[in-house]
Amino acid sequence: MKPHLLLPGVLAPLLLIGACSDLPLVLDPHGSNAQQTARIAWVLFGGGAIIFVLVAMLAAFAVFAPVAGRAWLRHPRFVVVAGIVFPIVALSALLVYTLAVSGELARSRVAAPLRIAVTGETWWWRVRYLDARGETVLETANEMHIPVGQAVELSLDTADVLHSFWVPSLSGKLDMIPGRVNVLRLTADTPGTYRGQCAEFCGAQHAKMAFHVVAREGPDFDLWLAARRMPAAAPQTPDPEQGMTLFIAHCAACHTVRGTPAAGRLGPDLTHVGSRLTLAAGTLPNNAGTFAGWIAGSQHIKPGNRMPSFDRFSGEELVALAEWLESLR
């Protein structure tokens, strides 16, 4: 191997990691699962880099070293030691290490006080907070708030095709499969907002199926949960009547806003939608302008999604509707 051929392999990762101001999400964990994985990842990268350099040096030596100096490489015994003995030793050590670390995690599982059901839908996330009996106490969408330092048990299922639930900062992914409920336990260690995204190809808008997990301190989380369990607050927009009337007339077949007659189940529950970070499963920032744009051009922004573009509203109607929705906090 020519030394200059090694450069791309060895230098590129260093340059690239240097170029990124932050570590990639997987290596910058904020939850117990992710922390464990990050530890394993560094072991893997370190070991991999060492083996790569050693083998590349061997190959370079085999090609370029003086003929006399490389005689020891010629024997089948070298193949046995380097190709059989070394991998068996290294891989056994790796297997024992990873199984030990995984076992540690399995043993640490205690009953999680907070249970949340997450259902993958094309192409958004239905989120339901459950009580001890498994009844829904709060339904929301595309956003999940959890208490810091507390194990959360997520029951993952799907309403249609395969999806996969993944928040790299907190945990590895787990698939959502029709007819099954997969359970993922995760804990956030630090308060913050963590982005997640569907990781299993699920059709046209697989790319625009993101969500956020917001980790809050315990008391803060309790306040949040209590507030969200209330019906939508009385609107304070200039023309609340018009916005709400339009919503009931055009949107209630698919959407719920608790506290109003709108009780549709097909689309996301929009009670408190004004307080969410994003619209359309992480596709747009959330403000009255983007909301109006989404209502009028949902098929333009996220083509193929289940919500038709409501381009029949006048500009004034659109503003009223969007402002009313934004006021739902």
Partner: protein
Amino acid sequence: MTATSPPSPTSLPSPLPRPADELARLEAAWTPPRGWKLLTAVNNTYIGIFYIATAFVFFIAAGILALLMRIQLAVPENTFLDQGTYNQMFTMHGTVMMFLFAVPVVEAIGVLLLPNMLGARDLPFPRLSAYAFWAYLIGGVVFFGSIFFGNAPDGGWFMNPPLTSYRYSPGANADWWLLGIGFIEISAIAGAIEIIVGILRTRAPGMSLDKLPIYAWAMLVFAFMIVFAFPAVILATMLLELERAFHWPFFIAELGGDALLWQHLFWFFGHPEVYIIFLPAAGMVSLIVPTMAQTPLVAYRLIVLALAGTGLLSFGLWVHHMFATGIPPLSLSFFAAASMAVTIPSGIQFFAWIATMATGRVQLKTPALFVLGFLAVFLIGGLTGVMVAVVPFDWQVHDTYFIVAHLHYVLFGGMVFPLFAAFYYWTPFLSRQQLSERLGRWVFGLIFVGFNVAFFPMHITGLAGMPRRVYTYSAGLGWDSLNLVSTVGAFLIAAGVAVFLIDVARNFRLDVTNNAGNVWGAGTLEWLPTGNYSVRSIPLITSHEPLWDQPGLAADVEAGRYYLPGTATGRRETLLTSALDAKPQYLLQLPGPGWTPFFAAAGTAAFFLLLTVKLVVPAILGGVLAIVMMLWWMWGSDPGPNHAPVDIGGGITVPVYVTGPASHSWWAMVTLLLVSGMLFGSLVFSYLYLWTVSPRVWPAGGAGIPAPVFPLLAAALLALSSAAIAYASRALRTTVGAGHRGHTMVRISLLAALPLLVAALGVELYGQWQAGLRPTASSYGAVVYTLSALQGQFVLVLLIMGGYTLARSWCGLLDGQRRATFDNTMLLWHYAVAQGLVALLLIHGFPRTFG
């Protein structure tokens, strides 16, 4: 070096001088068709070159799709491609690279090189190769064409239901994949059977298995892996197409189906597929490295063990593609360990190549550069492969760009780099001049640098959270510059491929007879002087590298001093030898050019492709055309002992026709039965798997199962039909020539056996139907009827083969000696009966026992 003393010049098998017209007669028998009649060519050299060229065109086409995708992803929120187009493109990129490029190209190189490398004149079933090629070409072009109509598959190359089933993919897109790819897989299996029988039975005398070139070993393991792996995905595509077309619910959870059944079947094929692509490439490297270093390969036996070990182990780790599906931790640990273990055989080969390079002195010519590039890139792919075998790490990187990087390091590194090495290495075997060393360095440099620039950053993109198969992404997630760099790298690769095409256009001049010859000083037989007939005379082999260890071999072979220095029967022929020690057994007469393979392939393609667009009647006409053409070509392929045994030189006289277990057709049929057994086994697995998932849809305590009289009657009918065939076989043994009384007994037995087989199937179907079972009601109903449907396919084939055998009997083409046709029908018959009995036992015994 392991040379044993070569035969002394005086003891060479065929004495000089050779008869004046011997060479001319040999050339006449092997004259290739010209002009538009090239469509009738069946010779392995021609088919091999057509095959490689076609596969390379698909490589470029799928590469262009990749470039378009890289343009789309170069910047965030790009609108160059819409989501529908992008989803079709990534699906087609993966599908075409896997099914229309990688597997066909390695099979094609096998078809091209193996006969010469083994010292054979051709593979044993030239028309089968031609058929496989034409089916692949027609099917592949139509399949690829679907993208120009916006109608291409868009569910990913893995085609996971429920997304790809009728509810979420109502259009024809998914059907193109299921029918188009299903049928290209059949073509791959045809090629695999050809390669297995070719390697085991057409080697030059003396080339015992322990002298087989490593490449041929790799191709043997490769072909057996196709035989064992492809049936699983063929069954999966059958099940999904049944679900899409007739709503038989295999994958629908509400009706007792399970989406994970698809994933098990698909990855049971899909993981071995990686090694199916890699092993032939590793085999090529094992020939190129010794030549470039001018020294024999170190640790030959260990490498053979490693190839076989890879083949076996690769069937035990499909679940590592499913770590994130929620499978229990204990089974995950098993598959993690198995996934790590499979790196050991690769390690053995790796260090054997290094040891070989250390032993000799590597000339850094273009093939050697590509081999070194392969070592570096594949090593990284192997290391990341160990990483993703670690379950928690895989949970993070699964379905992200880390995996995109990993799989390209493995597949592009493990297969495309060796392929370019092979192009540069073997061009002098095919062309009047070799490819340019100067351009070759550019090709290597651009591809190597471009590859690493494109794919290395993807490891980090994946760790930064970017999932696979997204048509766009938001700005500000830390993915922007990484993606831009990857796009630049992709275009560097494309530039390298473009330079390669220029090199080919400037320097490749196809001419097998006056090829550039052994420019590298290689030691294997394909570098002997060659013509369309392969070697002038078939050498006696005494070492791994005969051209190095047997002085004067090339000249003696060319002078006709070895075995079979001409054509003994005046036709194309090749020498059949024993599987282990390559002792001459008989002379196989090979067919010359003909139209039947082309039209049979066109008919087969028409059948599958027209079904996709629901043109049922034309599709059936295509199917009939295919069957008629196949029967036509079969008609002449069982000549009987039409020529006295021939002297091939050295005092060896061999017959020109044999039947029974020594014959090549028996071996091919047994291999086909292995394929059939795997197909049936996959269906039995599906039955049992669905039961473990949804026992609720299985009949409880035997209720709702047909009364025992039905399966018992069906089993009796099956047994009787097998008995009738066995009786016919005995009766046939006594017959010599026409007019014997035994002929009547053979015909009566065959005529009786056919309806018995049909009746057994009818009884089973009637029993299920009258018991109230419907295939659309539940996964249980679906799988029970599918067991009968599979049996029905065998019955249909046997009706045709049985009728054909009868026709040959009536025409006086079947007797106690000329019975290869009957033997093949008999083997398939007994197999089908056994399969039917096992199916009955499963369908009727299992619910009664465990219900």
